[in-house]
């Protein structure tokens, strides 16, 4: 009986182990930044598909309005300025967060939010104006792909604003804790990423649209 047990245990001992038996330490949030970056890259692929769709369909006006008659470049320039300014003010929020100045951080975040709101307001005004003129998404393949691409970017900005307000409330209630800093850094990447996508939009859609 005892002999049988020893043989069994000796077999178990000699069995090779191909993995680390003990769980090694994973500090909280250590992988968040890489994970969020990979999310942003997947978001980038969504936008690439929408850009490709617009690139293919952007010339099909179906005897409807074309970019030249629709787009107001002055408005687009103003919009671009708003987004660019919100990018730099978010950068300032990150710099003040690093120095743990909570009031200044909140102030810069609020300014960023206002620029974001201005961007959305101008974009919605443009959309409303276009739809009022009969240039609805149903009008032509050009307009369908235009509204899908620019609208998706606008939706991202909208959700970025919701996230921004959420984090401002979080920061006000719990301070600049390690978790809140991490969240603010994720939103920072998200916000700057949206600005990068907008470079593609104003170049590919608006500027090249006027040159068509």
């Amino acid at each position: 009986m005892s002999v049988a047990i020893t043989t069994q245990s000796s077999i178990q001992d000699s069995e090779p182990v191909f993995h680390v038996i003990d769980e090694h330490a994973h500090p909280e949030g250590a992988s968040t930044m890489l994970g969020f970056w990979i999310y942003l890259m997947s978001d980038c692929l969504i936008f690439a598909m929408l850009f490709a769709t617009y690139g293919v369909l952007g010339g099909n006006y179906a005897a409807g309005p074309s970019p030249k008659g629709l787009f107001d470049l002055k408005l687009v320039a103003l919009n671009t300025t708003m987004l660019l300014l919100s990018s730099i003010t978010y950068g300032f929020a990150m710099l003040t967060m690093e120095k743990s100045k909570i009031v200044q951080t909140q102030l810069w975040l609020a300014i960023t939010g206002l620029f974001g709101l201005a961007f959305l307001g101008i974009e919605l005004t443009e959309f409303a104006h276009m739809i009022h003129e009969g240039a609805t998404p149903q009008r032509s393949a050009f307009l369908s792909s235009f509204f899908t691409l620019v609208g998706t970017h606008g939706l991202h900005v909208t959700f970025g604003l919701v996230w921004l307000v959420t984090l401002m409330v979080q920061t006000a209630r719990f301070g600049l804790t390690e978790a809140n800093r991490r969240r603010l850094m994720c939103l920072s990447m998200f916000w700057h990423f949206l600005d990068v996508v907008w470079i593609g939009v104003f170049t590919f859609v608006y500027l090249l649209g006027m040159l068509r």
């Binding site: 680390v20 038996i21 003990d22 090694h24 330490a25 500090p27 250590a30 930044m33 890489l34 969020f36 970056w37 990979i38 890259m41 980038c44 692929l45 690439a48 598909m49 850009f51 490709a52 769709t53 690139g55 293919v56 470049l73 002055k74 687009v76 320039a77 671009t80 300025t81 660019l84 990018s87 730099i88 950068g91 300032f92 990150m94 710099l95 690093e98 850094m185 994720c186 920072s188 990447m189 700057h192 990423f193 600005d195 990068v196 470079i199 593609g200 104003f202 170049t203 590919f204 500027l207 090249l208 006027m210 040159l211």
Partner: protein, 134 residues
């Protein structure tokens, strides 16, 4: 023996973890100077293409389009470096790896779609002259 190698692995891991914490991965902070340089460059790289198109400075539209595209590409790189703080070291190079992969996918999707659909359009053209064919 087992415990020894385990401790060794832990030391290696904690070292790597510390390194990863130091540069905060893809979201590392820049300095005021780097943000301002990035902002200045972005303003120039945005204003110039808008000016070129709105004022119609260059008569040849193809040349204007090419310049506008190049400036956009440069501005995207500027944003990546000065605002998103991309470098080859963060997260042991994995953010860069993910980005290179994404760029390859985006280039394939964009050029592939535009190229194929352009040729499809070009080759559809003779359809209109079918009645004149023998």
């Amino acid at each position: 023996m087992t415990t020894n190698s385990h401790v060794e692995a832990q030391i290696l891991h904690s070292d790597a973890g510390h390194h990863g914490h130091d540069d905060h991965g893809g979201g590392a902070h820049g300095s005021l100077k780097s943000y301002l340089i990035g902002f200045g460059l972005s303003v120039i790289l945005t204003a110039v293409p808008f000016w070129l198109v709105m004022a119609g400075t260059i008569a040849d539209k193809a040349v204007t389009a090419l310049i506008v595209l190049v400036l956009a590409a440069v501005q995207i790189v500027v944003h990546m470096i000065y605002f998103l703080h991309m470098n080859t070291r963060s997260e042991n190079g994995w953010t860069m790896m993910a980005m290179i992969f994404t760029v390859i996918m985006v280039v394939i999707a964009l050029t592939g779609s535009l190229w194929v659909m352009h040729h499809l359009n070009v080759n559809m053209m003779p359809m209109h002259d079918m009645s004149q064919m023998p």
